[in-house]
Symmetry: C2
Subunit: 352 residues, 2 copies
DNA sequence: ACGTTTTCTGTAAACGTTTACATTTTATGT
DNA sequence: ACATAAAATGTAAACGTTTACAGAAAACGT
């Protein structure tokens, strides 16, 4: 709508060539103080900033990043994004957020856009780098199409992926061990005297679920807890799924005394289910959640949960990406071991 | 990292001029079918897509939109964003998400970036349009700086703002009445026999809070309910705030029999507080939330809440913005009246 | 005052497109 | 077959920058 003011007009108004204007803008090139002052004044007067498209064209960079997540409505991803965006902005990058799939609740029909399309999109957009979190990378079996698309993307621009490493794909994979948290939680429950611990929620075929299951099993073995396939009740990651999964556990002949919920949504569903069976938390059933996005302090009961350090992860991946783009030294990998925040829901030591 | 393939190479390989290639790309210009086929083949072979910077430079558009929100971690904004991004993507726009402030919990220190800076940023980025939701616009008193910045932004590109109208600012303001929902909720509670209804949470000086307070008061008057300033317990919008605000109401000498929580977070905090006082919901206190982002079906108790139609709002604003950009007819304003989803927490008719 | 170095500034090409205009090719009517 | 109209294609300018290179001005030593 408004006339766009260009470097040429700045040049004319300050009586120099466009090259000089460009030089005062760039800052690190010698230009006579007197000239610089004059030009800067005119720039200020018109609030001039260089057209990023023209700049991008010649500099071959867009100062734009892509972030690809499945569902920004999920607190895990929005927390991650918040960190990414903050530090990107500090470094004068803006970020395009790509939301590849709708959560079933947020859009009638639960439509999905193929992630591969978004890979191509950010490529076409000429973003300077991409961060990918969640989606197909979280599946144990990644499709060949996805693999190829990711390889293609990563061979053009720096890509940081939060998830399992894929061989032959030149991304920087940041893989957070999901096993430690589960071990800590189970260990804690066992220390309180629990022998039958239910595993609630988490989709099969998803890396997190499977590795957590692995940790669950090895803890069950090493602590000689009840080893019963019925104690595993997986489901999707949303609230209603958790509700159903928990019910399955409550219908067992030999009841569980503790449950490990795969995330806060599952935990809320589980609370609902336990209450429906007129049981109390933690008196009848102890509960621990593997995430803490909702502040467990204020849930009823106050929820014991694992803190996954999502903020630190976000900071790390954006730093990593910027380093890759600017070819500087990579930051050290922080310690992402989760810690257990103990509240009400896990209860006290069982009296035998 | 990879060699970029340009229109020139496509032209050479298919033995035509770059103009012809450009024409087959554009689609709506006559080009001999034989030529078109040949060129298309080469394009496909190289997966060529035009450089958006070069295109943007000459076409004076970036096919990029800006969305400015205070906190993407808040389900209201992430739901809104999901819709916006989906339809933007369908229309071949990508969207830059600007998160102007950190929620106190998501970043140590709770830093804030001035929204005005982001206004300038999207302007510098040459986005084709902007959607603004939340932030200063939600304050009853908008600063002059903000006003000026917004005016400046809106005089350059199409801007859709979800919030109160500001005179002399050429934005399209979408203002959702917050009063209706409150009226419905209070009316319902009154119909159950409640006379002392508490107002929990919501920051003073914020438009939503004040207009809801207005609705509250007029309902209290028209239904001759207890009119007591002590029944109003405002606070911030986060969970711990709701907890504190609810406690204040519970400490009253003459207790409330029902509470209206300003959103789900407040409601969860309120549940926690009521439970801490060893009171039951809804038997002792009925509760209604003004939002429903968490699926109230699975909370304990199942939460009665107002559905604000946030998805529809998202769809509407993105449609609106695209229409403004493309100069097509505006969509009709949908009916955003919230509806009350009645569940457990509001209870049954009081026995007198 | 004059050559020489140093510092500053201007010219012009390049980035990869789109499109008005000119030109060539093809189709049409006789 | 030929003039003419219609259709397809090519040429070149333009979009707004950055920067290598060249040229001008200032600073310096004698």
């Amino acid at each position: 709508m408004n006339k766009n003011i260009t470097i040429l007009q700045i040049a004319e108004e300050s009586g120099v060539s466009i090259a000089t204007v460009s030089r005062v803008l760039s800052g690190n090139v010698p230009v006579a103080p007197k000239t610089r002052a004059r030009v800067e004044e005119v720039i200020k007067k018109y609030h001039y900033t260089p057209n990023p498209m023209a700049q991008g064209l010649i500099l071959r960079q867009s100062k734009t990043l892509g972030v690809i997540v499945p569902d920004i409505t999920n607190p895990y991803f929005s927390t991650l994004f918040t960190q990414i965006e903050y530090f990107a902005h500090q470094a004068h990058y803006s970020v395009i957020l790509c939301n590849t799939s709708f959560s079933a609740t947020s859009y009638a029909g639960g439509e999905h856009e193929k992630e591969e399309n978004y890979f191509q999109m950010v490529l076409d957009k000429k973003v300077d780098g991409v961060i990918i979190a969640g989606g197909q990378i979280d599946l144990c079996e990644v499709s060949e199409d996805y693999r190829n698309a990711l390889r293609h993307l990563a061979s053009s621009i720096p890509v940081v992926v939060i998830g399992q490493s894929l061989s032959d794909v030149p991304c920087h994979f940041v893989n957070i061990a999901q096993t430690k948290g589960v071990s800590i939680a189970i260990h804690y429950l066992a220390s309180l005297g629990h022998r039958r611990i239910g595993f609630v929620g988490g989709e099969r075929g998803v890396v997190v679920t499977e590795s957590r299951l692995g940790a669950y099993h090895s803890m069950v073995e090493s602590l000689s807890l009840d080893d019963d396939p019925e104690l595993i009740s997986t489901s999707d990651y949303y609230l209603p799924d958790g509700y159903r999964a928990a019910k399955k556990l409550l219908d067992l002949e030999k009841p569980v005394t503790a449950m490990l919920a795969m995330n806060d949504n599952i935990a809320i569903g589980t609370i609902r289910a336990i209450t429906d069976y007129c049981l109390r938390i933690p008196e009848d059933i102890a509960l621990i959640s593997c995430d803490q996005f909702i502040d467990g302090t204020y849930l009823t009961p106050r929820l014991t949960a694992l803190d996954r350090h999502t903020e630190e992860l976000g900071l790390y991946v954006i730093q990593l990406l910027l380093c890759k783009i600017q070819n500087t030294a990579e930051p050290a990998l922080p310690d992402f071991s989760p810690n257990l925040v103990i509240r009400e829901s896990s209860g006290k030591k069982l009296s035998v």
